[in-house]
Subunit: 411 residues, 2 copies
């Protein structure tokens, strides 16, 4: 199906907040086989909201509207919809009840939040959870989804409600479409491009390349039709891609490197520990962002200062003074000493110069050593990363996780 | 002036690349006193490009178009403009010369890049630098700026060419615009709304509310005119907001909580340490994302497992067994023991249940204790956060940083 996305909020048109929700929605819709005709970002301006909405309804198969559903006076989406589509505001008892029960005992006034319960006529509430709901309207046979502007809430509603509804809605003619996204690490885009160039010439097959920080995500789309079954073509192309990219593919779809590493650790009954200097906790934060990570993650030390490297990791003062904190011997010692102290079989460490200051001629900004202790063996690897401070930290953390992944794959 | 931004590229409508350029442009334009009526993101579709462009020219004072200016076959902006505005492609000798001189000796063919030199009739090239140029057209008295889609290039052109041209163009009546953004933590949006409701009634004053994770950013805009000086109104409104929100305002503009906490620590000559359980390194990661953080951050322990709490923080086994890892006494011990071990005067700890599993009736998901050790005193505070795993982790980290901020403000 072909859709349009309308994001609403003065905070977006003033550029104060980047509109990440529209890009996320577009990506998820694209991955589910839909096309986005256009995305719009407009302020809390009822006339313009109404105009954009009516134009979209007239020309595409579905519309997603985000933002402006809140309880404050500058949230005007519902009013704009009511006016533009001639659907007067109607009190939704379900939402009103939810607001009442949430406010019970808090001493807060209901009136301030009651605005949330007035929805355009015909609105079907999309979630019965405790947080702010979205809703769906069918106008002139076009489904229109209204989601909160807060990215985390919009994302949940999109995945749990919008995509399944669209799937039901979808014309069965479109079922000749196959898509897979491969998540790769460690190869530059041009090299992946070179390895897959043969595949790109094939009819019905489309390959997309999307660099995302240190990763490249590769999409494979096979579009069949009523005469051509896409499945054999898809299997063949999938095989080709896996052969060409090998272990650089760490996952597919919405897999994250932290999730994949977690699964491998759990499968091998291992608990990872981390000794982080220049990443300051980022590796641990990525790992513990995954639900259930206590099954495969012990914790570790943020050894940011040299003092902490000595006190918490027992790194010899002489070793630090002799080689410098950013060195292979210190990286090895960090991983090995941590593993030793806490009785861990697998431990990763990072020490480097994230910048913008602290670089020298011999060790410029981006110099990073990654230490890795596993089954009583310890190694270190030197990297030269490019980018600003946050990019270097992110590259370091990704590379550390990938070091663990490759070691466990090799078992 | 009032403008519209049109971003072009299939990579944007597929959501593969987030459109950061439009948000950047909006922010810079807004800061320069302009208003953005709408922003659009559309694919490399000539009809739609032409339609969006014509509509924008008819209704706003200026238009900015980014993307689709490159040399490959899917770059269609120039063709679309030529067609929609009836301005036939014209060979620009200046650009052709530049291409020739750049290709000299490289062995590359000119033909592949010659496309770059064909611009719609009336185009004025915006930069004579060595990288790809942008151009400007004046159509029906409306200036339209065309910029490359690569963010870094678009940004340079915007700052160096577009903003100065608009300033020249601008009616002098618009130089009466003042803006400030206040970043707040600890108050819900509706409560801020309530406290500022008086201000909202005032002429010339506009207040915006932008919830960002656990924070609410409040924007104050004062628009004067040739008769009304905005400065006294702005000072008065600023005073009103600061009185109403007090220490909930942690900064203005692009300040982050980690940056503000860092400055306070440095001013007081303190080095913070962290003992993180449920946040797994997120607090350390936020702090060390700020350049120069080694001046105010020592590091700490990611005490994710109970074993690590015992081994690295010397928490008594009996204390953990008696109260549970998620408890006030354990939070206090984590902060105090870490400070003791490393000789730190200030230490923050967090222990809680981020979910989705692990909750009990007595300690549901979202239960978090924050421990704080400062100048030989230790305290703990219990919180009940709502949200998914990542939201609870983010709320916990923000609240921990805010605990440090408030203690240092009180000195």
């Amino acid at each position: 199906m072909i859709g349009e996305i309308i994001a609403i909020g003065d905070e977006l048109t003033s550029g104060r907040i980047a509109n990440t929700t529209s890009a996320f929605a577009a990506r998820e819709l694209f991955a589910a086989g839909h096309e986005i005709y256009a995305m719009h970002t407009i302020g809390d301006t009822p006339d313009l909201i109404g105009e954009a909405l009516k134009r979209a309804i007239s020309r595409v198969d579905f519309v997603i509207v985000t933002g402006g559903l809140g309880s404050t006076s500058d949230d005007l989406t519902n009013e704009a919809v009511a006016e533009a589509l001639d659907r007067p505001p109607t009190l939704n008892e379900e939402i009103l009840e939810k607001i009442r029960s949430q406010l019970q005992g808090t001493g807060k006034k209901q009136s301030a939040l009651e605005k949330l319960a007035w929805l355009p006529e015909g609105a079907e509430v999309l979630n019965a959870g405790e947080r702010m709901a979205g809703y769906m309207l069918v106008h002139e046979s076009t489904p229109v989804f209204f989601l909160p502007g807060v990215p985390a809430q919009a994302r949940i509603l999109l995945i749990d409600y919008v995509l399944p509804r669209l799937l039901n809605w979808q014309d069965s003619n479109n079922n000749h479409f196959r898509l897979r996204v491969y998540r790769t690490i460690g190869l530059p885009e041009y090299e992946i491009n070179r390895r897959l160039s043969g595949l790109e010439q094939q009819d019905h097959v489309t390959i997309g390349y999307y660099p995302v920080n240190s990763e490249v995500h590769v999409s494979l789309t096979v579009a069949g039709n009523s005469e051509i079954n896409p499945d054999p073509l898809f299997r063949e192309a999938d095989h080709h891609i896996r052969q060409a990219l090998g272990a650089h593919i760490y996952g597919t779809g919405q897999d994250t490197l932290a999730l994949v590493v977690g699964k491998l650790l759990q499968k091998n009954n291992l608990q990872l520990s981390v000794a982080e200097s220049c990443t300051g906790g980022l590796i641990g934060s990525m790992i513990t962002g995954v639900p259930g990570s206590s099954n495969w993650f012990a914790g570790g030390v943020i050894a940011y200062s040299n003092h902490l490297k000595e006190v918490l990791l027992n790194i010899d003062h002489d070793l630090l003074a002799g080689h410098g904190a950013v060195s292979g011997p210190v990286a090895r010692a960090m991983a090995a000493r941590l593993a030793d102290r806490i009785g861990s079989r697998i431990s990763i460490s990072v020490t480097g110069i994230a910048g913008p200051d602290g670089g020298t001629e011999k060790k410029p900004v981006g110099t990073v050593y990654i230490g890795f202790f596993f089954n009583n063996k310890v190694q270190d690897t030197l990297y030269h990363f490019k980018g600003n401070r946050k990019e270097i930290q992110a590259l370091t953390a990704q590379t550390a996780l990938d070091t663990v992944r490759r070691a466990l794959l090799a078992l």
